[in-house]
Symmetry: C2
Subunit: 193 residues, 2 copies
């Protein structure tokens, strides 16, 4: 495997390991063993496990962002229908896979925001980018007359993300879709109206 | 120190350590060192670090529950005013202390719900008890005509808890009260109306 191939392979394997087990519960050894590369290889590519964690988070968000962009700018649907499709797809993804891994963004916020400045800054950028994607679609729904003009799009977008992350945490404990379906039901009956 | 005194002391010290640093990032050694007791003492009182974690969570909730009961059943205020006072007090507590520790219930949901059946079951009971406290006050606010009778109290209570936990996560990343104040503002202007 070429050096860049190894780096990429470590990141994609590490994403699965850190998402399933958590950052502190996974050792570098667990990551290299899962990737089937010698342990020393890790430090050829990454300065520290913390830097690795920050890059894994970037990769996770890259994937999530491209899904969000695809759904939230799908002009075959009205803006409000796009918002509904977006959250419904997130519930569906979780209902199809294991509930117990949660969202890496929420997991890292809980586990790493305290001690890692690097990961905390990266989380801040992820939340800002995510808020901006949702906010734009909320603004479009307002322009289309689908939801009240009195809502402040950035504020509502940030609230939806926080409430969604909380619902994902609860779904992780309950191991079913109840909290996610409740989120969708309340958001679309009481907030985005 | 008497054996029961040591057990209690380990739990109260351990609560501070696990809340500040996380479960997996704290070793038994960190807990006994902070408590200034020999490491072996830990296993005299607890079968495992996991069992210790479950008891620490119970102690954390006990304290939170007694605050919640005091505020949510304070008949000097109307039910809706009690709900406002309750969430305002939670924002105030966080604004006074460090934002970076988050809520132990949310932290453990993110970090331990995957691997520990014991802690996951305890988290389920905590969420159920918390939902029930809020739900009762929401029902009282409906009976007093302060909020719409069309809201389903248990559903709204569970949603509020999830959204609050998500806001606490975000506040941990941003290290300020923005997400908590946003939560209060949206909940009391769009949901509990």
């Amino acid at each position: 495997m070429k050096p860049t191939g190894t780096r990429d392979h470590l990141l994609s394997t590490g994403l699965r390991v850190l998402h399933a087990r958590g950052f502190h519960a996974s050792g570098v050894q667990d990551i290299t063993a899962a990737a089937q590369v010698p342990k020393g290889t890790f430090y050829t590519h990454f300065d520290s496990k913390e830097q690795f964690g920050a890059e894994v988070l970037g990769r996770y968000w890259e994937h999530r962002a491209s899904n969000a962009i695809a759904l939230l700018s799908d002009e075959a649907r009205s803006p409000l229908q796009r918002l509904k499709a977006y959250f419904a797809s997130k519930t569906r993804d979780r209902a199809a896979g294991p509930f117990n891994t949660g969202c890496l963004i929420g997991n890292f916020s809980a586990e790493m925001a305290t001690d890692s400045r690097l990961v905390r800054d990266r989380l801040g950028s992820v939340f800002a980018a995510w808020t901006s994607l949702l906010s734009r679609c909320i603004r479009e729904a307002q322009a289309a007359g689908e939801i009240r003009a009195s809502l402040q799009p950035d504020t509502i977008a940030a609230f939806l993300i926080d409430a969604f992350e909380g619902a994902v945490l609860r779904a992780k404990v309950e191991r079913d879709a109840t909290a996610l379906l409740r989120f969708e039901s309340i958001v679309f009956s009481l907030i985005l109206t």
